[in-house]
Structures are given as structure tokens and as C-alpha cells.
Symmetry: C2
Subunit: 351 residues, 2 copies
Amino acid sequence: MKEHLNKPIAISMGDAAGIGPEIIAKAFDAAPELTRGCFVVGDVATMRRATALISGKALVLPVAAIESAGEVSTVPPRCIPVLQLGTLKELVPFGQLSASAGRLAAECVVWAANAALRGDVAALVTAPLHKEALALAGPPHSAYPGHTEMLQALSAAHVGKSVVDLPVRMMLANDELRVVLVSIHVALREALDAVTLDNVSQTLRITHDSLQALLGRPPRIAVAGLNPHAGEGGLFGREEINVIAPAVAMARQQGMQVFGPFAPDTVFMRARKKSGQVGEFDVVVAMYHDQGLIPVKYLGVETGVNVTLGLPLVRTSPDHGTAFDIAGTGRADASSLLAAIRTARGLVSLR
Amino acid sequence: MKEHLNKPIAISMGDAAGIGPEIIAKAFDAAPELTRGCFVVGDVATMRRATALISGKALVLPVAAIESAGEVSTVPPRCIPVLQLGTLKELVPFGQLSASAGRLAAECVVWAANAALRGDVAALVTAPLHKEALALAGPPHSAYPGHTEMLQALSAAHVGKSVVDLPVRMMLANDELRVVLVSIHVALREALDAVTLDNVSQTLRITHDSLQALLGRPPRIAVAGLNPHAGEGGLFGREEINVIAPAVAMARQQGMQVFGPFAPDTVFMRARKKSGQVGEFDVVVAMYHDQGLIPVKYLGVETGVNVTLGLPLVRTSPDHGTAFDIAGTGRADASSLLAAIRTARGLVSLR
């Protein structure tokens, strides 16, 4: 009896000054079947403003204020259920950083994550927040560089572990490629220091366990090197010899199908699923943020999905940001959010 | 009167144990028009062995030993002119590192570069050498991490400058994307230290001047940041604020069309030329090797070309390595070498 299949999915609104509210409104408008049972955690007035950005519609999509996740099923079709959180004194201007929008965005994530941890919602899909606004939001939110770290802290608190004992990793996926990152929102210099035996091993374990659950079989994991040409035998850096290769060897001894380290500039091409052909690998473990995200985004950000692996909840998000430059213009594309909702549903059904 | 248009093009053979000789033989076989006036600087016996790897041929392509670049025009069509250099005592086994193959590969580059600097050949196309074999080759060759540094040293000596006063940059280009790299074959840790105001400014100047010559108009140059999200306003690293943005501002003051720094994970996607659409930029300046090469290679390495900018000679090469794993099997793909020859001819005609 998979009762969680009937539970609602919470979509956190993201920064009110960005494109989050607009893409959510467009997702509800464009995909009524997919979004049935979803609700927004955010601000009713901001969501009303967002629905007006959908062009070419005789009727603006109605927004229905709800008080709890349980009320979602009572909202009529073609209506966006919104759970009001916090209080924005007034609508925030599009494309402008503000502490109030940062704070509200963070509060939405906290509420939705806790609902997921309690089991009130089946999954959490997060619309983009702005990291500088989050930094302006004040404690406790400003302590977190982004969504992932917030979710990790909330989950750790929920299960009574320290954050260190609940390691998580970011996976980015589109139709062609999946990558899992050893580190994310830190300066590249710090990311180099994060390439340790523990961190790489942990990434391999989380990747193996999560992809095994997702695919229903042991995944073929490729590991990227850190240096050009994976160090070319030690000529351009020794992290491959001292850290990455030993982590790969350990993972193989534990029965995982792990290969590498490979030259970073060709491993993603090798793993890429081309028309009708499977790639050489199911997933690539990348040593730092841009190493993995450059190839995932290269063909376009429309359908990329961000999945947080290792958490005791299902969380996905679109793989783009708040796009302050086009916020309020009605030009935002909901494809990545729709893909994130679809992926969340897939992950829920596999639990 | 462009007499250099009639000069031959030298193709250095690369590592004899790799796929270099095979792709050269295949290029001569597949594209007799394009390769007319080209000759190989290498080893006659190794090239003969390579011609036998072309499958499905009743007649093996003949190899003609020549003594000088001037003799190329006397070699009959459908015959590969080879200028014998050094002495391999015997054929080297496929796919094995050796000092002798490394040394011969280096000597071929030295000879061809000097011929280009003297004006005896119009351009130099280099087949892949193996960097570990080069390191085994002994002085002076082992001092150079790769082709680019060798060519820089030879050119500097020729024009009587120090290497420091002859800065060069690597450009990788395919049909969709051009990238120029601030640094190349160094450990990523060292590459971070190479992101200085001088190095970035120099890269912008070289990129502007070279692309102006190539395109016949000022290029639109995008600059990638170093850190995730280009530092997100200083939250994840300050190189963008302290180094890259000032270099961009200086270049704009000098009249160049330079934009950024942009988030590394989306700038390449933005610059990419999609079917029938021009990209937002003509070229992206990348802060380190893999940042630029991952997107260039993601769609396949078949047609990528490596161009060294800033040298007093024309030099192009395929953007793949020696592929020791498939050397000798006959499965090597000559597309990238053919693209390199085509690009070299294009650059020669623009001089």
C-alpha cells in the first residue's frame, strides 16, 4: 500500500522578485494533469501577479488560498492552491534583491521540507531562490549558501543526526546526462580542497545507492579527474593518484561499478546518451560544480533537473536560477520546472 | 601576390605508437584535394605501416620519401610525401609509451616549426604526441608539457624575444563554439594562480586580434567567471571582482567588445551556434583547460580543431590525443585532423 503516492507535492515559490512564481503559474496552466495534487508554498498576492504574466489567455488562472496540505484535494481543477506563508508587506519589485523576498523564499523551503520530513507531502520541488537575497535574509537562513545546505540541516535535525553524518550530493540530470557533484556552492579554490578520499568515497556511495534505487539495477559510474587529462600520469597534478584512484579502487572492492578517473574533457561526452544509443555510463561523478554543470547545461537549460541525493525526502528543482533579468516580462520558460515535477513523481513512485 | 598560398603545409607525425600516423594516412586517402601540397614530417616506415591500417582498399596508398619541403610538388597525386626525420631503430609497438617515439615526435615538431618560421612552409598541422612520452624524451624536449609550449619557445627564439614577451593562447573550435584558454597544461591548482590581471588581459588582447583577423570584424568576446555562478557577487570567491571584471573593463576601454564575467555553467550554452542561429558571442574566454574543453568536446571530438593564437606562424591540430587504446586497430577517425588541415588553409588564405 503506497499511500505516499496520493500525498500532495509541495512547490516552494522561490524568490518573489525572480521567475519562480511565473514558471509555477505556467506549469499549472500548461500541465493540469502533471500538477494535479501539487500546491505552492508561498505568497498568494505574488502568485496572483504571476498568473497575469501568462499571455494570450482570456481567463487568468485562479489562485486558491489553502491552510494545510490536506486541503489540496478540495481545490477545484484549473486553480492554483497556495499555502500562504509569512507576510510580504507589499509586492516586491521584479528583478530586485531584497531581504524580505530572501526571507520568505527561505521560510517556504523550511515549511515544505518539514512537511516532507513529517510525511505530510510526498516530495518537495523548489523554485529558484536568489543566493544573495538568502544571504541578506538574516539568521538562520543566511547561514546557508543555498537550498541543498538548508535541506541537509533540516533533515539532519529531523533524524537527530549531525549534518556531517547526513552527507548529501547534488545530481543534475537531463534526457542525455546525469552528473553528481563532489562539492557545489563554494569558491573553486575551496572545491579543490574538498577533493578528499572521504568526500569522493562518500559521493560514490551516495551515487551508487541513489541510482540503484532510481534505475532498479547497479549504476555504471564514471569518475572525472580533477586536473587536465586527469593529471596525465601525475604531470599536471597528483589528486588523481593520491585521492581519486584510491577512492575508485575502494568503491570497486565494495562491489560498485565505478570506472576512472577519466580525462574531464571527454568523460561527459562518453557518458552522453545520444539519439537511440545509451551512453557508456549511467552517471558521471564530477569533482566540482562547473565541471559537471557545464556539460549538463550546454545543450540548453530547458529540461535540466536538480535532485538532492542522500536526503530522507524527495527533492527536485529546475536547474536554472531566478533570472532577475527577465523576471516580470512573461518570457520565463517552465520546461525545467515541469521536468522537475515529473522527476519528483518518478522518484516518489519508486520509494 | 600571396606566395605563401602555394607553399606546402607540414603535418608533424605525432607519437608513432599512437593514432597520428593512421589518421594522417586516412586524411590523404579520404581527401586528396584538401591534402594536395601537404607533407608529413616523420618516419617513412611508420607511415607505411599506417597506410596498411586503412581497410577495404585493394591498393595500399604509396609513401614517397622526400628530402625537403620543396620536393612536395614533385610527388605524384595519391601518394603521401614523407620527410624522414631522426632514426627509429625499429617500428615502435602500438599503444606503448617510449622515449624514442616521444623524441621523434618532438623532433618532427621542431623541424616543422622552424620550417614555418623560415617561411619554407605555409602552416603547421600537428598530429597528437603523447605528453608522458615527451617527458621521457629527454632534454630539451622534456622541458615542454606539450606542443604549445614548444612552439612558443621556438617562435620566441626565432624572433629574438623571451618567451614571456611572446604570449600565446590555445583556441579550440568546432562548428558550434570557439573557446580560448587562459591556461592549459597545468594542474588545476596552478591554473587558479594563473588567473591574474595580466594573464586575463593578455588573453583578451590575443583573442581580439586573432579573431579580428579570422572573422574580418571585431569579435564579440564572452568571458567566463572562475567560480560557480561567477562568484555570485563575491559569495563563492572573489577572483571575478578582483581580477576578471577589471580586465574586462580595461579591454572595453581599449575598444574591444568584451562581456562578462558570466556564470561558467551557462556562458558556453549562450555562445553556442545552434542550427541556423548565430550564438550570442563569437568566442568564449575560459579561465582554465577543462572549463573550455568540456563544452567544445561534449558533442563529440570528431570535428574539433586546436589553433595556437599569438604565434608568428599558423598552427592547427586535431583536438584529441594519441588514443593509445585503439592505436593499430584501424578504428581511428581522421575527421578532426581533416578539420585542422581545412582550418590551417583558411588561416593561411587570410594572412
